[in-house]
Amino acid sequence: MIGALVEAWAEFRVHRARVLLSLVGVVIAVAALAAVVGVGSIASQAQIEQLERGAGRPATLVLNPPYDPRTGKQADPAKLAAAFDQIVERYSITYAGSVLWSGGQAQFVDGVDAVQLTVVDPAYGPMHRVQLARGDWFSDRDELRLTPALVVSDAVWRRLGSPDLATHPTLTLIGRQPTTGVILGVLPPDPYVGNLQAYLLGSGYAALAPSAAPGASPLPMYEFWVPLELADPLAERIRAEVGAAFGEGWVVDVQRQDYLAWGAGDPLEPVRIVLLAIAGLILLLGALSLVNIALVTVRQRVREIGIRRAFGATAPRVFLAVLLESVVATVIAGFVGVVLAVILVQSDWIQGLIAPGLQDAVPFPVEAAVIGLVAATGVGALAGLLPALVAVRVKVVDAIRY
């Protein structure tokens, strides 16, 4: 095997010019293939992260506020919170918390404007992959602050005049009582939703809530980030426990809400399939021209093969050498193709096209590089097979008379 590799490499060096020319097609095809796969996986990673920001990472269970359909009564918030605490404790769930969406208003220099408020627990950050452009997400200590802590969207921050967070900028929210919060962090600019948005903790929301009276304000839902394989049994247990806490007749709704549970397909899939098909066709054409060239040269090299056989090369060895020669060449072509694809996909232009708003450049996916190289190797083996078969059929005496 080592001998065959050494020989293949030497052959490649001798026929460099011809081989390189015939490889242009393979280089282009592999570059296209790797680029498509690369773009696809970067785009779908961006997409997944987007989905996870919205609905939580797999598996996220959500407990909606229970209600009694007979009376139309809503759950008592304190009782619900107690049930939640008990579940978190009993099943040692590290990441869990309440989420409540609420409309609100904020005072800006140029007037009052509507702001979408999301009341969360500190666990919301890791559970929803919250990434900040500047500053920090909430920590547990922030619950105890006297001035409520806020994380605001880029739009809010700009509206405030893009203040340096080190100066502890504040935002005044208008509710039952006006509350001034200090801004801890700012979300990255979001091209899809350029809205005014603020996150705050439950402790900060207390003063803003329309009324402290039970039933007067909306109830939060509770989210649990649990291992995928435990999602179904845990959902069952949570339903049972909350059901037990509220008693017969109450409707307790526990659902998976992460994107995996929706069975949502990749929206880029059709585009990707078309591009892959095109790359596959180019690869096929490249392979055909490789086969063609290899066949022609094998005929020219019958004499050489005969000479090698006379000096002890066995038929399998000749087969392997011719095959490897083709593989060595296409692997090199594949490598060049992958490098081209990396350069292309990592360029700012492409990055901006496929994953706008991503803060950090996503590294070129390893699987794209691997697929490119595997495809190149496969094409090399296929293209080398036919000439290799011709090569073993060479009869030594005849080849030498040639």
Partner: protein, 241 residues
């Protein structure tokens, strides 16, 4: 035990128009280690065909070839290839160097099919052999940059790198002038004698043939020893043992 034995060997080929062409008929030959055999014959008499049989690259149409005690009919495929690689060194009629490869790469070719030490030290071994044939300063030259005599010496180095027990030379001097020819032959003779290998030289040059201890003539596919009378005519004074 003889290194190589041919018993009643014939070789015929099917002609495209139908009918058979008998190239070799009833060849009997025994070659021992250290023998120097020469075979002369006119063009088309079947010399190269015989060489193919002697070198294990062809099979007789009938008769038996025994190499080193093994009937070749029972040695086939990869075993035969490896045996040939290890024990036979060819010097072909038209050199048959690999074009585009340097002298060193050409001389290394047989070692690519060897194992162990010979494979791993192939560059050293080939370099030493090229130095021995006087081409130590032409290692990196490709065949198209070498004269006929130099190419022939590369071919000789290539035939000898694995230390074969049987050296087969087909018209080793055919493309060379008389002086270069006898120098090349002397070298071949010397290397063969030093390693105790058997040397079979095919030639149409009586002077070259006369350097061999055992002489044969191939005529219309029939091999006969050259008799004493022929020898007296063909051999240069004092050339025969």
């Amino acid at each position: 035990m003889s290194l190589l034995v041919l018993e009643a060997v014939t070789r015929s080929v099917e002609l495209p128009g139908g009918g058979r062409l008998e190239i070799l008929r009833g060849i009997d030959l025994e070659v021992d280690a250290g023998d120097h055999v020469s075979i002369v014959g006119r063009s088309g008499s079947g010399k190269s065909t015989l060489l193919g049989l002697l070198g294990l690259i062809d099979d007789p149409s009938s008769g038996r070839i025994v190499f080193d005690g093994m009937p070749l009919a029972r040695v086939s495929g990869g075993r035969r290839d490896r045996l040939r690689g290890r024990d036979v060194g060819f010097i072909f009629q038209q050199f048959h160097l690999l074009p585009g490869r340097t002298a060193l790469e050409n001389a290394m070719t047989p070692l690519l099919y060897a194992r162990g030490r010979q494979f791993w030290r192939r560059e050293r071994i080939a370099t030493e052999m090229l130095e021995r044939v006087g081409l130590g300063d032409r290692l990196q030259s490709t065949p198209d940059r070498l004269s006929g005599g130099e190419q022939q010496r590369v071919a000789i180095a290539r035939a000898l790198v694995r230390g074969p027990r049987l050296i087969l030379a087909d018209e080793p001097t055919g493309a060379l002038d008389v002086d270069t020819g006898s120098a090349v032959m002397a070298l071949l003779d010397e290397v063969a004698a030093a390693s105790g290998a058997a040397l079979i030289t095919i030639t149409h040059d009586p002077g070259i043939a006369a350097m061999a201890g055992r002489r044969f003539r191939l005529d219309e596919g029939v091999l006969r020893p050259v008799d004493a009378a022929d020898r007296a005519v063909a051999a240069p004074p004092g050339g025969a043992p």
